[in-house]
Amino acid sequence: MKRTLTYTFLLLTLLAIDVPDGSAQEKRIRGLRLGVDVSGLVWQYVEPQSFSVAISADYEIMPAIYMAAEAGRLKVDRNKSNFNYTAEGYYARLGADYNFIQNDVDPTAKYDMLYGGIRFSGARYSHQAENITFQNDYWGDYQSGSMPRSNMGAYWVELVAGLRVEALKNFFIGWSVRGQFMLSRDNDKRIETWMIPGYGKADQNTGLSFTYSLSYRIPLTRVPEQPPAFF
């Protein structure tokens, strides 16, 4: 409880930091940006049998270039008339983004991003089927045991394009669209994987996914403005 209070206090302190605007033209706020991906909530509505949450972090390591990391969790619980399917797993993505729009055009949009990037992604997950029923109109349905849990992994690359705007000071909203390319994955010969955490429907080796993120930048340091490194 005490720890929770400490963290809450720390968070409020960070939120309350208002960087003085004295030399805003030359100085640029740098800080770790932490976010949540709320697209899982939309999925929750469309596909109530799956539940996913994801968090993200990025940091501007040099002008226009951001290191980015994401992690999340997926749970699947499908009760169908002929079998129950459950799955769970985790994923992580690591990569970088490049911001194509330069910030000095509109000082109020100085940290907005129209970006492209790449992510290397990996997932560990397991699934199982229970209460398997073999439907037979004549002899009657036959229920027979279960497929025991098996553990699997997958690796893929994502090409990212997205938009992120600073809606309030240090608060960002943004979306991204991702093209996914499977590099390697385990296959369970007994039952196909339905969904891979962080990847989506597992029946294709290329995919398309979306994120919709809300994030907060912890304004820790200020550095002089510099032109972007490339382009």
């Binding site: 399917y85 073999f134 027979s144």
Partner: protein, 164 residues
């Protein structure tokens, strides 16, 4: 402030794309039936034969007929029992009836997330009583989903045949 419409627009687009990939129902028939063909033994070899009238049911399911006094039947397609390693069927032709027994190995197979699991069979043995039927032979032991080819031949003696 001009930037928010773009974000909202894309949010709408995202919803649209998500809704466009809804789950499908199972649109396959999940039939793993054994197909039986009738042949008559003639001096020149077996000849395809139609039985003039035929009733078929599972041995323990006399109340539920698979074929009910069907006429001119050359083939029957019968569901195998997924809960046992054998199925017995009673074939009634006119006043005579024969019991056919198939013994098999069962293989449980995942078909798809929409359709679930099915049982496929590998027939090991086929036997028949000899009231009307002469003999029985396995043509194709593997019974897979939606097979149409003959798995089992049932041979009749020439004297018993009224058809052909």
């Amino acid at each position: 402030m001009k930037k928010y419409p773009a974000v909202l627009l894309m949010f709408g687009l995202m919803l649209l794309l998500i809704f466009s990939c809804r789950e499908e129902e199972c649109d396959q028939t999940l039939r793993t039936n054994a197909v039986f063909s009738f042949l008559t033994i003639q001096p020149e070899g077996p000849v395809d034969t139609a039985l003039p009238v035929l009733t078929v049911y599972g041995e323990t399911r006399k109340d539920s007929l698979l074929y009910d006094s069907a006429s001119t039947i050359e083939q029957v397609s019968l569901p195998l029992d997924p809960s046992r390693d054998y199925s017995r069927f009673v074939f009634q032709t006119d006043s005579l009836s024969d019991t056919v027994e198939l013994t098999y190995n069962r293989h449980q197979k995942f078909l798809s997330h929409e359709c679930g699991f099915i049982t496929e069979y590998e027939i090991q043995q086929a036997a028949t009583t000899n009231h009307h039927f002469d003999s029985i032979a396995i043509v194709k032991p593997q019974v897979n989903i939606n097979d149409n080819e003959t798995h089992i031949n049932i041979y009749l003696s020439p004297a018993d045949t009224t058809g052909n």
